[in-house]
Symmetry: C2
Subunit: 236 residues, 2 copies
């Protein structure tokens, strides 16, 4: 079956967490909004009068008759189908718990540059962004990274959950990629404290399908429209 | 089986979404941290060296051998066990999608009074809070409430998903309760626009187990330590 992914065409954003899972799974998918006329198709799909399972916002995924929104929800769905989530109930809830914690982390990363309102320009909240980013880099990023490092320390496989790769590992890879883009100075200074997280990142980057995807034209470069933005004045 | 819920003892917060599901299900549970010595027990459980499935933060739930964190994840687990989530795969992902959207809404509600940092006092970010709340009440709250009203309009049962009550209905009830506490003036002005949401709220409030719970001592009153805080200067 061919999946249809619907997400903003010009950024990695939340869609990228889903792309990484699809790529690792070797799944057949169309990135709908990146095709000619695709963005209109995305808006039409979101507002379709026939649709009960309304997405609040992109990303959403069509899989046959199903339309599923919310990044972590989509990853749970794909993970179950493509063995990127454990088959046991306990394993499923554990990986999903990790994904939801990564989603919380991502909101806080986004809000470093948009502490006042997501509908306003960064330029109109620069002062607040500086304060929020200061707190984020000092307190929140270390807390999240330390948490994931601790989870890795408690496991023997080098993956976050159980013996095998899961969507959570791919998502944490993307978090490290994004933090390095957004806050290169800070990350150079602090990432050695989270050696297990960095090790996992490097291990994911070397997986053949991920490596091929990352070096392809399909991978949209990070930019200042996305969630991870590099504003030098925010990076200490 | 007796569940053990672990959450901060003095606030409704995220724990309340789980309490409402447990109460509606008539489940047997202990609210661990509200018992004498319970908060210490919570910290010990969170840091236990034997635990692989580490919670990042409360709430978390112990169910036999399982320890599950992340509010929406816990609700998915309880919902499947107590028929508060549809048995079909499509129904399960739809209800969970709604829960995750409610979780996003809740983060934005929290950030109205803490736009700069969750570790700082409100008093140290009052100016930023005023700006953020302005954007929230003008743009974000109407967008979320309008979305849920639209979802209800597309369904025939008066519930958000399918023909029966789900955890998502209970959670949306709690959102309306909290918004009325935090922003009474604004809600009096705007809530008539979301009549289906208000109707659902009223219907949930009348359910016998919920009504009994709400009028009991178990229901912690809203206060200015929780997620929903009433600061008159933020309510227009």
């Amino acid at each position: 079956m061919k999946y249809e992914l619907y997400y903003w065409p010009e950024i990695q954003g939340r869609g990228e967490f889903i792309r990484l899972a699809l790529e690792e799974a070797g799944a057949d998918y169309i990135d709908v909004a990146r095709r000619p006329g695709g963005e209109d198709k995305m808006f039409a799909a979101m507002r379709s009068a026939r649709l009960q399972e309304l997405p609040f916002a992109p990303p959403f995924l069509k899989a046959g008759k199903l339309t599923i929104a919310q990044t972590a929800n989509i990853l749970l769905f794909l993970g179950r189908r493509h063995k990127l989530v454990p088959a046991t109930e306990a394993g499923m809830f554990w990986v999903h718990q990790l994904e939801l914690t990564i989603a919380d982390f991502l909101v806080e990363i986004h809000d470093t540059h948009h502490p006042v309102g997501s509908g306003l320009y960064y330029e109109d909240q620069k002062k607040e962004a500086k304060r929020r980013t200061g707190d984020f880099l000092k307190n929140r990023a270390p807390k999240f990274l330390g948490y994931f490092d601790d989870v890795l320390a408690r496991n023997k496989s080098g993956y976050l959950a159980g013996a095998r790769l899961s969507t959570a590992d791919l998502s944490l890879f993307q978090i490290v990629e994004g933090l390095r883009y957004a806050f290169p100075k800070t990350m150079r200074r602090i990432e050695r404290k989270y050696a297990r997280v960095v090790q996992l990142h490097d291990r994911i980057a070397e997986r053949p399908r991920i490596a091929a995807y990352l070096s392809s034209e399909q991978r949209i470069p990070f930019n200042e429209m996305g969630i991870f933005r590099h504003y030098p004045e925010l990076d200490r």
